[in-house]
Each structure stands twice: as structure tokens, then as C-alpha cells.
Amino acid sequence: MIAIIDYGVGNLFSLKSSFAYIGEEAIVTGDEKRIGECARIVLPGVGAFGDAASKLRSVGLDQVVCREAAKGKPLLGICLGMQLLFDKSLEYGEYAGLGLIPGKVVSMRNVVPQAYKIPQIGWNALHFPKDRPRSPLYKDIREGDHVYFVHSYYAAECSPWVSAWTEYGAQITASAENGNVFGTQFHPEKSGTIGLKILKAFCEI
């Protein structure tokens, strides 16, 4: 069973449906006990970092997620949920994240040439770092497969933890991981069959 963390941020319908579609049971919950009973956790999120982080904290779910991750439970953050895994974000101020993956979240404008539109909206290709083993999330994914992105900020200063990057006028972190903690900047639940394969792989970790 997978717990999709419900903290009042974002649309969880597609995420829940995509797990159902690949034959995995998932529940949308903010209940500590039920989260504890699940074997895997997904942390979703859309919107601004500061709002999401404070919502997560206000219901105490930040500590629940960190505690479960510390037990070794596979955790997958998606989009803003991925950004929350890092130390901090500089989106409209400075906000602390969960600190589960070292690095910070900054505007793509810092590195992306002016001609590129921000947010990045659309399908872009995954590239894997050559100097480390392939992430278990990508066991059925090929270099160059496309996934769907919608974001203006990205995770920087985290290169030892980057498991895939994408080219958008600069190398942009597409995913990162630290042990049992995984994060994808893109939306696997909106990335067609490639995305479903990534979610399936997460269920098999």
C-alpha cells in the first residue's frame, strides 16, 4: 500500500488513478497512523514552496514524513513535493525544506538563458549521469525518454544526488535521490507510459 500525503496542496486524482492503473493500491491520507501502515510514501505538491512547506508543518506531516523516511521506507516527492525534500528554497523568500536531500531550490532564471520561457512547460528528455549507477526508478527507462515538466524553480547545488537531468538551456535537475528518498521534478503521473513505468519501478523498490 502506498500513502499519497494529503496536506491540502494540489490535485491528487491523477496520481491516485495512475497507481490504480498499474495495479498498485494507494490511499490519499494525512493520517499519521495510516501513513505508518503503508510500505511507501508519495509526497505530491503544486504551487509555491513557502505555502506548501507551512501547510505540511501546520499539520505535523513534515515530522511524520521524515520519521518514516528515517526508517528506510521508500519516499517519492513529485514536482513541488520533490523540492520540499531539499534543505531550503529561495522562492519568494527563504524557506526551510525537509533536509532529506542536500541542496537548495532556486529560480531557473539564474541559469537559463533569457530566450527560454519560464516556467518550463512540456515534454523534455531525461539524461543520466555517467559516473554513477542508474537509479532503480529508471530500470525500464532509456536515455532520452521524455517526461512532462511544469516548473519555474529547480534543485541546485545537489549534483552528487542528481539521478537524471534535462536540458533547458542549462542542465536542470530532473530527479534526485538520497538512499530511500527519491524526488522527480517532472510529473510521472502525467508522462504517459514512461511515467507509469517510473511509478511501477518505485513500487518495486
Binding site: N11, F13, S14, S17, S18, A20, Y21, V46, G47, A48, K117, I118, P119, Q120, I121, G122, W123, N124, A125, H146, Y148, F149, V150, E167, Y168, E189, K190, S191, G192, T193, G195, L196
Partner: protein
């Protein structure tokens, strides 16, 4: 490199697709679910569902259908038609839409875009604009292109983006239905003034029209069409292969 997107648009009335025709492997061409699945499998990068129902019952059927599509098809879904209030956003987002497109509703209520963007984020709000040249000036039309609002299109789009629209669908009434190609002049003018994605609509008649679009107006992010896909004149799979051969970066599935 981010890819250029190809987006089929499905008009839905009372829960059924209007104008769906013969696809070899689709049994029920007016079933939104069957058609959406077919398009998704043939490489569509996104789907737009346009609700042209007028009645309350039809609207209910539309959200039922949307829920079914969203539980089986995992690519971005945009919904338009009859979006006049923030509650309308809520209604379709709850059923699995990712983006919501506003047109006449935003003209009637200038507060709609900022309110929706604040609540759901800019990425969720698509401003769809029907534009026609009037005395040489790009002018916004409302009510499905029937009513001249007198509003300057470039001003309208600029202020829409400033208020929180995260994407623009530009439909040229001058080229719509003519099948002589997209309105490159109008698209260039819009791409020059906004820095959010612009989706070209109106005028696609053959595969070459898409090549011309992306080569002549490189800032355009996506091409949207309805009838040429529905009538099987152009298959999305073939179109993307051709675009790639023409040096345009697309996602091949």
C-alpha cells in the same frame, strides 16, 4: 531540449465527441474515452476537451466523462468551455483536469484570471483567445467568435499574462476552417509580447502546415487542431515523424 507539442482538441456535447469519425481501431468514435486513448497512444502530447454543452445535465455528463478519461489517460488534460467562475475551475480540476482554459468568461469578468491564478497557480490557467483582423487591427471576439468585443488582442493577451495566465491559446478566426495553414503573422505578433507558452490554433490543413509553423515562428510551443486529426487526414504519429525529419524536436513514443 523541450519538444514542440501536438495537441488534438475534442469538442464534447452531452458527453459525446462531436465530429468523431472512422479510425480503424476505434470502435466508438464518439466516445471521449476511446478517442482520448487512441490519441494518447498515437503520440498526442496533451489533450484539450472543449465542453460545448449548454444544459446542466450535459455539464454533469461532461464531468463524468472527464473523470473517466483522467483515470485512464496519463498525459496533461486541458478543459475549456463554460468556464465563468472559480467554482467552474474547481469543478473540472476535481475531475482530473490539469489546466483550465478561459475565453468569454475572462472577458465578462476581468477578475476571473487573477482569482483562479492565485488559487490554483499560473500553470493552471490557460487564456484562450479568438482573434480576427478588423480594419487591420487584431481584435478579440467572444462567444465562439460571433461577437466583436472591440478589444485590442495584443493588449488583452498582455494583460491576461500579467494577471496570471500561464499559457495562451491563440485561435485565428481569419485562418480557422480554411485549412491554408496557421496564422503566422498573428502568432509572431503575440510571441513577441509574451514570455509564456503560446499554442497555435486555427488553420492546420496538412502536415506541412505544422512544419511551417514551427520553423517560421520558432517561439510557438505547440500546435492545436481538431478536424484534421478527427477525420484521419493527418495521424499524429506520422506528423511527429515528419516533424522530426524536418529538424523539429518532438517526442516520439
Amino acid at each position: 531540449m523541450i519538444t514542440k507539442r501536438i495537441i488534438p482538441c475534442l469538442d464534447v456535447r452531452d458527453g459525446r465527441v462531436v465530429k468523431g469519425v472512422n479510425f480503424l481501431n476505434v470502435n466508438d468514435v464518439s466516445s471521449p474515452v476511446a478517442l482520448a486513448k487512441y490519441y494518447s497512444e498515437s503520440g498526442a502530447d496533451e489533450l484539450v476537451f472543449y465542453d460545448i454543452t449548454a444544459s446542466f445535465e450535459g455539464r454533469q455528463l461532461f464531468t463524468d466523462i472527464l473523470t473517466e478519461v483522467a483515470s485512464q489517460i496519463f498525459i496533461p488534460l486541458t478543459v475549456g468551455g463554460g468556464i465563468n467562475t472559480v467554482e467552474d475551475f474547481e469543478r473540472v480540476l476535481r475531475c482530473g483536469a490539469d489546466k483550465v482554459s478561459v475565453n468569454s468568461g475572462a472577458i465578462r469578468d476581468p477578475g476571473l484570471i487573477p482569482a483562479a491564478a492565485k488559487k490554483y497557480g499560473d500553470q493552471c490557467v490557460v487564456l484562450s483567445v479568438d482573434v480576427r483582423r478588423v480594419d487591420g487591427r487584431f481584435t478579440v471576439f467572444a462567444k465562439g467568435g460571433r461577437e466583436n468585443t472591440g478589444i485590442d488582442a495584443l493588449e488583452w493577451i498582455r494583460s491576461g499574462v500579467k494577471n496570471g495566465a500561464g499559457e495562451i491559446v491563440l485561435n485565428s478566426i481569419d485562418t480557422d476552417g480554411v485549412k491554408g495553414g496557421f496564422d503566422l503573422e498573428m502568432l509572431s505578433a503575440v510571441c513577441d509580447i509574451v514570455d509564456v507558452p503560446v499554442i497555435a490554433s486555427g488553420g492546420a490543413g496538412c502536415m506541412e502546415d505544422f512544419t511551417e509553423l514551427f520553423l517560421q515562428v520558432p517561439k510557438v510551443d505547440a500546435g492545436l487542431a481538431a478536424s484534421i486529426f478527427h477525420f484521419g487526414e493527418v495521424s499524429i504519429g506520422d506528423l511527429k515523424k515528419k516533424l522530426q525529419a524536418d529538424g523539429i524536436n518532438v517526442r516520439l513514443s
